[in-house]
């Protein structure tokens, strides 16, 4: 096995990984980034519905009540997301658990994050969508809200010169999406970050022992740590590479980071018991409607994948944001069976009646999405084969949430004289999921930030409790649902954590990272 020494090893290459890689390299450290998935860039993207292409980059883990989707590719989810770049609203940071304890650690709040949001937005080139760029679907959604006296906002995106092809989720072939390939990646390469793709981190080992300084006070003796990270090529000769670093930063996403830490528990024996628990799912509930004849057409197949408008009217009262989302044919057929309430025809999810319904998909169907402040309730474990499994706790609370949210979304349709399309969510074999069922790409918190080891896995600075120099900077650290898309918050928080890492190792001489460098 080849052994490589470096100052900093960053695992993953998405929104949570690139900020620390870039900032530490800019400070003069030797930074290596490893990415499990393949290298991919604009020229590799395709406008296709072919599952062979899509599953090359997008992966999932699924249980009876819960499914997570995530990307494994250079740039993480940034190549395949919908570019919505929203700041988490203030109420997010005031959430508490069932016993009244704040979910967010002291000092991490909207005001504190705003400078980091500014930085992240500047890096991505985030801009609010202009009225003449709003696709049909979002204009119709806005009209529904306007008819009912609700507000609706034009939301910010990380995109430039969008042509509205609707294939955002398979990668933008026009290079309009301001994914990390356009900003952080080239800057990181310029700063000297060495990136290796197709290389999965398998386990982390602490090379020096640590000890409790005062277990009751949950304080740790901070020893000088080195870490050994065993990695393996995912294709070809399955080469194994061992990295030794004093600073290891986990940025492989909520599933990847938790999986790596769970798989390393026999080496990192004092990880918090909260690891893999409290996964926030951002309360995604979808309701499909058929537009009444008096309303203009939407369009599922053109315009941005996320069409541009969002209402925050239900944020204070129900912790909900509401938007219209779109579905290409693959999305409309793989995950759901559609039928119309009250339609007496048999076999509505297949056969002639289904074809007549599908003919309305493009122009007459609209999907409303509620994202909400659901409690952290996902649990991830590793099976004996090392594969992750997910489950859902607090199902009664979540069932109530789904019922209430569906009621709100359905009322938006029905009060606008639209019919409801019945939706039955099914797994990849076509079998119905058990209720309540949530499917999301917004999962966070599997190694959440907290003020103490007993409440979370990492400190507010992202450092794993008990393991100096081991950090989590991705969605796994975000301790709650956000009620909006998560990417900008993950990026901003990663910038904040990166600054903290630099401060930690900065010497009085001012050259960042000197302490790490001296260790080698």
């Amino acid at each position: 096995m080849r052994t490589v020494k470096t100052d900093v090893l960053v695992i993953g290459s998405g929104f949570g990984a690139f900020p620390p890689a870039l900032r530490l390299a800019q400070a003069g450290l030797r930074v290596i980034m490893v990415e499990k998935g393949p290298a991919v860039d604009t020229q590799d993207f395709r406008q296709t519905q072919d599952p062979k292409y899509i599953t090359r980059y997008l992966k999932g883990v699924s249980g009876d009540h819960l499914s997570f989707t995530f990307a494994e590719a250079l740039g993480g989810g940034s190549g395949f997301y919908e570019m919505v770049s929203l700041r988490a609203p203030t109420p997010v940071f005031g959430q508490t658990d069932a016993s009244g304890r704040p979910l967010w650690p002291l000092g991490v709040n909207r005001v504190g994050l705003d400078p980091w949001y500014d930085l992240a937005e500047g890096m991505l080139g985030v801009e609010q969508i202009r009225p003449h760029e709003i696709p049909h679907s979002a204009l119709v959604f806005s009209l529904l809200m306007k008819n009912l006296g609700y507000t609706c906002d034009r939301i910010p995106y990380a995109v430039k010169n969008c042509v509205g092809s609707s294939f955002c989720v398979t990668g933008c072939i026009y290079g309009a999406k301001q994914s990390l390939h356009k900003n952080y990646l080239p800057q990181a390469l310029d700063a000297g970050v060495h990136i290796e793709c197709d290389l999965a981190a398998m386990s982390i080992r602490s090379l020096r022992r640590w000890k409790w300084k005062n277990p009751r006070a949950e304080r740790f003796e901070e020893l000088s740590h080195d870490y050994s990270v065993r990695c393996q090529r995912q294709t070809g000769d399955r080469e194994q590479v061992n990295f030794k670093a004093r600073c290891v930063i986990l940025g492989g996403g909520t599933v990847g980071t938790a999986g790596l830490l769970l798989g390393s528990k026999k080496h990192l024996t004092h990880l918090s018991p909260q690891l893999g628990r409290n996964i926030a799912i951002n309360g995604s509930v979808k309701v499909v409607g058929l537009l009444g004849d008096h309303l203009p057409d939407g369009d599922m197949f053109t315009g941005r994948s996320h069409p541009g408008m969002m209402s925050f009217d239900f944020l204070d009262s129900h912790g909900l944001s509401i938007s219209a989302v779109k579905a290409l044919p693959l999305q409309a057929t793989v995950g759901a069976r559609l039928s119309v309430d009250g339609d007496p025809r048999d076999h509505q999810w297949w056969g002639e009646s289904n074809l007549s319904l599908m003919k309305q998909l493009r122009h007459r169907m609209l999907v409303l999405l509620g994202l909400g402040l659901t409690p952290p309730c996902g649990v991830m474990t590793l099976g004996p084969d090392g594969h992750p499994a997910v489950d859902l706790e607090h199902r009664e609370i979540l069932s109530d949430y789904v019922r209430t949210t569906r009621g709100i979304l359905e009322s938006i349709f029905t009060r606008n004289h639209c019919d409801i399309v019945r939706t039955e969510w099914v797994d990849h074999g076509g079998a119905p999921h058990s209720a309540p069922y949530f499917s999301t790409a917004h999962m966070t918190g599997s190694a959440r930030m907290a003020d103490s080891w007993s409440d979370g896995v990492v400190s507010s600075g992202g450092e794993v409790f008990g393991y100096p120099g081991l950090y989590v900077s991705d969605g796994a650290a975000i301790p709650s649902s956000l009620a909006v898309n998560t990417s900008l918050t993950i990026l901003a928080n990663a910038e904040r954590i990166a600054a903290g890492i630099l401060d930690r190792y900065r010497t009085p001489s001012g050259r960042g990272g000197d302490q790490i460098a001296q260790a080698h």
């Binding site: 519905q49 204009l139 009209l143 306007k146 609706c152 297949w350 003919k359 074999g429 076509g430």
Partner: protein, 190 residues
């Protein structure tokens, strides 16, 4: 196709054990693993194609047309179903035999074919999963046009790869008339 075929029965417990071993319950009826279906379906590609074509056409009218390139999905080894498509064709005929008194599934009128499929979907859990999976594959191949990025699916107005028609094509003129009052200036919730 005509005549009847002998099917080797196994116990439910054996079936469950085999399904667990195979790990893909939706597409692994135990009988398939035992290769316990009639010989013609193992050897006659045309027979399988005709039966699966009739099935596809029942799920989505028009999907059985060879030009639509849908039948390929049943044999595509990317999907676990490929290993079992011959069994599936034989099972359609077997069910047609006791639902409609003829095993010629492909010669049945649409309504009768629907009865056969509905019967399978309301029978044991393994059959439900197998048939649900086959229906899903058919719909994916047809509506999403997965074998031809340029073609899409004209039946539902899906044009496949984006045909650029100018920026005005995806929005409405004077969009302000649709816009509700905003809550924020920046689009970010406070």
């Amino acid at each position: 196709m005509s005549g009847s075929h002998e099917y080797q029965a196994i116990s439910r417990r054996q079936m469950v054990g085999l399904l667990a071993a195979a790990g893909l319950a939706g597409c692994t009826p135990a009988r398939i693993l035992l290769q316990a279906y009639p010989e013609p379906f193992k050897q006659d590609d045309d027979l399988n194609e005709r039966i699966l074509g009739a099935f596809a056409d029942t799920i989505v009218p028009g999907a059985g047309d060879p030009d639509r390139n849908v039948l390929r999905v049943y044999r595509d080894e990317f999907y676990p179903f490929a290993k079992y498509h011959r069994y599936f064709a034989s099972d359609l005929c077997r069910r047609a035999g006791y639902v409609c008194d003829t095993e010629d599934f492909d010669r049945l009128p649409r309504k009768e074919r629907e009865r056969v499929i509905a019967e399978a979907l309301s029978s044991d859990a393994t059959s439900r999963k197998l048939y649900s999976g086959a229906i899903m594959l058919t719909q994916v191949a047809f509506y999403a046009g997965i074998y031809d990025d340029r073609r899409g699916c004209s039946d539902i107005g899906f044009e496949g790869e984006y045909q650029f028609r100018g920026l005005d094509a995806f929005t409405y003129p004077n969009p302000e008339r649709f816009l509700a009052t905003p809550m924020t200036a920046s689009g970010h919730p406070l």
